[in-house]
C-alpha cells in the first residue's frame, strides 16, 4: 500500500542532525527532549524504513519526527544537489494508516 503524507503549518521539531562516520549512521539530537516527548505522546514510536535508514514516526499522531540510523557513506554518490524550497511545518502520514509500536 503506498503511503501518503500531508504537510501542515506548525513548529518544526528543533534539533541537530549529523552523520557519524565511525558508525556509518545518522543521528538526531532534539533541541528539547520535552518537546520531543510531547510530540511522541503515550503511544510510542515506530519507523518507516528506507533500507536501514529510519524515519521515526509518532504512533499516536503519525507525525514524522526525525531520521536516524545506518546509512553507509561508501554507497553514497557524489554530485551536485539543489536544495528544495522549504518552510517550517509538520508532516504526517495521512490516509487509512494504522501504526504499531515495534
Amino acid at each position: 500500500m503506498p503511503l501518503e503524507f500531508s504537510a501542515s503549518e506548525g513548529d518544526a521539531l528543533g534539533g541537530l542532525l549529523f552523520y557519524l562516520e565511525s558508525e556509518y549512521s545518522f543521528r538526531f539530537e532534539a533541541g528539547s527532549p520535552v518537546d520531543l516527548s510531547d510530540r511522541v505522546g503515550n503511544g510510542g514510536v515506530t519507523s518507516l524504513l528506507i533500507g536501514t535508514l529510519q524515519i521515526e514516526v509518532s504512533v499516536d499522531s503519525t507525525a514524522i519526527l526525525y531520521i536516524w540510523g545506518l546509512h553507509p557513506k561508501s554507497r553514497w554518490e557524489t554530485g551536485p544537489v539543489t536544495a528544495p524550497s522549504q518552510e517550517a511545518g509538520v508532516v504526517r502520514l495521512s490516509g487509512d494508516v494504522s501504526l504499531n509500536r515495534e
Binding site: 557519524l20 558508525e23 549512521s25 511522541v40 536501514t52 561508501s74 509500536r101
Partner: protein, 153 residues
C-alpha cells in the same frame, strides 16, 4: 539452534539466566523452537519457514553478550525512557533474541555496504505478537551492532 529435541526446555546456549543478566531478560520466556527469533512463538500451524532451522550447523562464534551497540542506537534506546514510563523496541534489550538471530543461520555480507559487517534477516514475532522480520547488522571488526530493527509484516 538447539542441541536436543526439547528446545523449550533447553538451557540458554550461553548459560545465561534471568538472574545473571538483570533486566535484559525481564520479558523473556523459553527460547523459541524452529529458529523463530523474538519473544513469542509462531501461531499453531505456522511452520516458521526454514530460516534458522535447528538443523542449521552454524556454530555460535558470536556471542550476543560480547556485542556492543553504536552510540546512535544506544541513544535511541534511552531517548524515551527517562521518565521510566515506556520502553520502545524492547527486543533491542534482549540478549537472548539477539543470540537466537545470530544462531539462526549464516549471515550475508552487509548489502548496505557497511565495511567488515554482516547481516541477518530472521522471521519472528515481537513482544506484541506481530509477525515480521528481525534485521541485525553487526560489524565484526568492532563487534558492534550497527542496526537492529523489527519490520512488521
Amino acid at each position: 539452534m538447539f542441541t536436543n529435541d526439547d528446545p523449550l526446555n533447553e538451557e540458554d546456549p550461553l548459560g545465561l539466566t534471568p538472574e545473571a543478566d538483570g533486566e535484559m531478560f525481564n520479558e523473556l520466556e523459553a527460547p523459541d523452537p524452529d529458529g523463530w527469533a523474538g519473544e513469542t512463538e509462531p501461531e499453531e500451524g505456522n511452520s516458521g519457514g526454514n530460516v534458522g532451522s535447528k538443523e542449521n550447523n552454524n556454530d555460535t562464534k558470536i556471542k550476543a553478550t560480547e556485542l556492543k551497540v553504536t552510540d546512535t542506537i544506544q541513544q535511541e534506546m534511552e531517548k524515551y525512557v527517562k521518565d521510566g514510563a515506556r520502553i520502545d523496541r524492547p527486543y533491542q534489550r534482549s540478549v537472548l533474541t539477539i543470540q537466537n538471530i545470530i544462531d539462526s543461520g549464516d549471515p550475508v555480507a552487509d548489502p548496505g555496504g557497511a565495511p567488515d559487517s554482516v547481516r541477518w534477516d530472521v522471521r519472528g514475532y515481537n513482544e506484541s505478537d506481530n509477525e515480521g522480520t528481525y534485521e541485525l547488522v553487526v560489524n565484526l571488526k568492532t563487534m558492534t551492532i550497527l542496526h537492529f530493527g523489527f519490520v512488521g509484516k
